[in-house]
């Protein structure tokens, strides 16, 4: 159907208060024609999974700058699976050390973006993940 739009949940789990990056990404996705549900700061994995369920999103974008990604991301993935939403694609942005990336991919994260990543790249990757 032509009416179909990619729906993205943009969330900031954890305790750091820097949401500039998440907002920039939200805007870029909007400008690429996606519908972005922005949930704001300090979300627990439970809140994120609940919002993803109610909003029937195709993609979740997580922004984590606190270093807690190895605790938060696997928990989000677990909850998505428990809710029957294992097909939702998860993209992660923030300060993520290279050595963590293989593990994150293993738990099911589709893309990881560090400082300097272009929003165009994120948009292209999200669109490409639906082209297949």
């Amino acid at each position: 159907m032509t009416n179909r739009k990619i729906r993205v949940l943009v969330a900031k789990p954890g305790l750091d208060g820097h949401d500039r990056g998440a907002k920039v990404v939200a805007r870029a996705l909007r400008d690429a024609g996606m519908e972005v549900i922005y949930t704001g700061l300090r979300q627990t994995p439970e809140m994120i999974a609940e919002a993803a369920l109610q909003e029937d999103v195709d993609v979740i974008g997580l922004s984590i700058l606190s270093g807690a990604h190895m605790a938060l991301v696997p928990r989000v993935m677990e909850l998505l699976k428990a809710n029957g939403q294992e097909t939702v694609k998860v993209f992660l942005g923030g300060i993520i050390p290279d050595e963590d990336i293989p593990t994150l991919r293993q738990v099911g994260v589709t893309g990881v973006y560090g400082p300097g990543a272009s929003t165009d790249q994120i948009v292209t990757d999200i669109q490409a993940s639906f082209a297949a």
Binding site: R27, G40, D56
Partner: protein, 331 residues
């Protein structure tokens, strides 16, 4: 496609959520689902919340939902935000103000982009509320930005419409302009702890007195004048009450909830509930027929015919009305 209808009626949230997407996208499955869900609708109290950007609608909806939950009623929220007219994308940010509601299984929040087709928003949101209604949500809060006709149409879906104002957004001329104030069943002055709440209330009161005249007695040059009330209508008249609230603290919320309950009772007492229900269904029927006729009309036209006529119109050889008449004959 797996059956989504039976689990939705049984309270499964993922099924409801997927159904809502089908309905929003106007897919075949969505249309079929609405047919099966329809007999289960008609139980919920639909409450529209509208007002200018920045008046605190989302925060107020958050508080209202908490109030309804404290009475044990299940609450669904449909939060509509505008789509970009250029890219079709949207940032839907109402959930930011509704953090308090997370973790409560008796609440379902769905964000919706207005998308942009003419009349489409009203049709889609009517359909979405039917899904919530069938799924057993007893109170459905529909939040829209009160900026244009489509939002007014959405508010018309509701049994009870709240128009939210805030101090300092405009003078009393704003209040007598035609528009969303006229659709209000309850007027809310939110952010009432801010300076200017009194003058906002005065302006709204003046506006209401013009719209709902009551008998007045006054002295002028030593003589007593009487202006009679405008209506000799024996049915009790609903004069929209004005309620103050501070959504960030919850102040005034019990009083607002009471006004909502009083309005629902008034609708039931006067038979207005059925009338509104009928009017809503009539609008829905009309929209569906209109859309179907439109699609049928375009399907019946040879390709390129519209473009040919458009060029003629632009050269001023043909008026748009004449062109439309010709096209209607051809289709």
């Amino acid at each position: 496609m797996p059956d989504l209808i039976t689990p939705t009626l049984a309270g499964d949230k993922l099924s409801l959520s997927r159904l809502l997407s089908h309905i929003e996208n106007d897919s075949e499955e969505g249309i079929r689902a609405l047919d099966s869900l329809f007999p289960h609708t008609g139980k919920a109290h639909l409450i529209g919340v509208t007002g200018a950007p920045g008046t605190g609608k989302s925060s107020l909806v958050n508080r209202l939902a908490l109030q309804f939950r404290s009475q044990g009623r299940r609450v669904a929220i449909l939060a509509v935000d505008p789509s970009s007219p250029f890219t079709g994308g949207a940032v839907l940010g109402d959930r930011v103000r509704m953090r308090d509601l997370s973790g409560d299984p008796g609440i379902f929040i769905r964000s919706m982009a207005s998308r942009g087709s003419l009349g489409g928003l009203a049709a889609a949101s009517a359909a979405m509320t039917q899904a919530f209604d069938a799924a057993g949500y007893e109170v459905i809060l529909i939040e829209t930005v009160g900026a244009g006709q489509s939002e007014v149409d959405v508010a018309r879906l509701a049994h009870t419409t709240l128009v939210v104002e805030a101090p300092g957004l405009g003078d009393d001329i704003q209040a007598i302009k035609a528009g969303i104030l006229e659709i209000a069943d309850i007027l809310v002055i939110n952010k009432a702890d801010r300076p200017g709440a009194d003058s906002t209330e005065r302006a709204l009161k003046t506006m209401l007195e013009l719209a709902h005249p009551v008998e007045k007695v006054f002295q002028h040059h030593g003589k007593t004048f009487r202006t009679p009330a405008a209506t000799a209508n024996p049915a009790p008249l609903w004069v929209p009450p004005i309620r103050r609230s501070v959504a960030t603290t919850g102040e005034g919320l019990p009083e607002l909830l009471e006004a909502i309950e009083q309005h629902a009772a008034h609708l039931r007492l006067t038979g207005e509930w059925q009338k509104r229900d009928k009017a809503r269904l009539e609008t829905e029927l009309e929209l569906i027929v209109r859309e179907a006729l439109f699609a049928q009309f375009f399907a019946g036209l040879a390709p390129g015919v519209i473009e040919e006529h458009l060029q003629q119109i632009q050269r001023r050889n043909l008026s748009p009305r004449e062109a439309a008449r010709q096209l209607l004959r051809e289709a």
